[in-house]
């Protein structure tokens, strides 16, 4: 059966990064199941099923959130705090995918419960490799959280 479910929420404000990330995911046939949120507010609307995403259900969370940190309106750490602070979304795997590896970003992300933290490499081959591995690991190798883990 073809998986129609959404698998990845990509939270990324920069369209060039969106293109490059989708490119990498496409090579693993993972690009069809991607929803892109262009700022932190849109990401939160999507994850918390409100605003233009009011029709979504908490029972069908994305299998993976790829989260940039520097975002307009609501930044990535604030998104992470909201997701990991709410029993309805806490079990969703969130991977920070960002430009910097400043210690305070790393420390704060882990403190908030991030599942992995990846600094986007400047070299495209390395970036592509990282995105591919991420996609494969979280969507193929890893067992996703069962529905019961999203109930308070």
């Amino acid at each position: 059966m073809i998986q129609e479910e959404l698998q990845i929420l990509l939270v990324e404000d920069n369209p060039k990064d969106v293109t490059l990330t989708l490119h990498a995911l496409r090579e693993e046939n993972l690009a069809n199941a991607v929803q892109v949120a262009r700022d932190g507010e849109e990401a939160l609307d999507f994850l918390f099923c409100r605003g233009e995403f009011a029709g979504r259900s908490f029972d069908r969370p994305p299998e993976l959130v790829l989260l940039d940190l520097k975002l307009p309106k609501v930044n990535g750490l604030e998104v992470l705090r909201a997701v990991k602070g709410d029993p309805r979304t806490r079990a969703i795997p969130v991977v920070v995918l960002t430009s910097s590896r400043e210690e305070r970003d790393l420390a704060e992300s882990y403190r908030l419960g991030v599942n992995a933290y990846i600094q986007k490499p400047v070299e495209f081959d390395a970036f592509r490799q990282a995105v591919k591995q991420l996609g494969l690991f979280w969507l193929v190798v890893n067992e996703p959280p069962p529905p019961s883990s999203f109930r308070p």
Partner: protein, 257 residues
């Protein structure tokens, strides 16, 4: 009189804190914002070559390869500068550290990264010292990878790490039989962006030794070097209070003209 002095100290402290905050915001922004466009240049150059290979002449492909090389170089430069800035504002986390284990770790990484090189490593027993483990590892990463880099024309390369007494203080040294440098330029050695070799001969950003010096100074020690052109180089450092300020000045970051 006293109150006046206190007020001035408080004011200066506030000013310093503001400057420090601004600097921190600056490096934070650099680390986030400066790398993104580089990533895009490299990514789209690579896609161009992959998608349009048939239409691109060999010359054009060569140009794109050069573009990507420069991008990666700038990426390294940014990373090194950020690292230097971080060292500057990091609080020392001092603990008793066996320098031999640090050297072993760094050596293992360098061996892995240079499988084709024939290098004779001679590591003596080194002291246990009070230092910041992570920063001291950076010192050895920089000194030992320099030694590996600048012995590239040697077969075998010989790299020694040991301890010696210098004016009553215990100094650690890293010696190699590499290309060395002329002592005429020794005052530029530890300056940021200062390089004593051409990039086409030996790659580098000119930040490594500046980082070493900053770390050693933060530990209250001093660092200096002796070398001869084509006859190898020896780098020394001490930790703890520097009892010879004159030498400190000689190897300071002066000469940044």
């Amino acid at each position: 009189m006293n109150a006046n002095l206190e007020r001035r100290v408080a004011q200066r402290t506030t000013e310093l804190e503001a400057a420090n905050k601004e600097l921190e915001a600056f490096t934070y922004s650099v680390s986030h914002d400066l790398r993104a466009p580089l990533r895009h240049v490299d990514g789209f150059s690579k896609l161009l070559v992959e998608k349009q290979q048939a239409e691109l002449s060999p010359e054009a492909q060569e140009y794109v390869a050069t573009i990507r090389e420069s991008v990666l170089q700038m990426g390294t430069l940014i990373d090194d500068l950020l690292h230097l800035a971080r060292v500057g504002r990091k609080q020392l986390d001092v603990q008793a550290t066996g320098l031999n284990s640090l050297v072993e770790e760094v050596m293992a990484d360098l061996k892995r990264a240079n499988p084709d090189r024939l290098i004779e490593w001679k590591v003596e027993t080194l002291p246990f010292v009070e230092c910041d483990h992570a920063l001291m590892k950076q010192v050895f990463v920089n000194l030992l990878s320099n030694a590996v880099k600048f012995t590239r024309p040697r077969n075998p390369a010989i790299i020694e790490v040991g301890a010696t007494d210098q004016d009553g203080a215990r100094a650690v040294f890293v010696r190699d039989n590499g290309v060395g440098f002329s002592m005429r330029y020794v005052n530029k050695l530890f300056g940021v962006f200062q390089r004593l070799h051409r990039t086409e001969d030996f790659e580098g950003t000119g930040v490594g030794l500046a980082t070493v010096q900053r770390i050693i100074h933060k530990h209250g020690g001093r660092v200096w070097a002796e070398a001869e052109l084509d006859m190898g180089a020896t780098f020394y450092f001490t930790l703890g209070s520097s009892d010879d300020p004159a030498t400190e000045k000689r190897t300071g970051s002066g000469g940044n003209t």
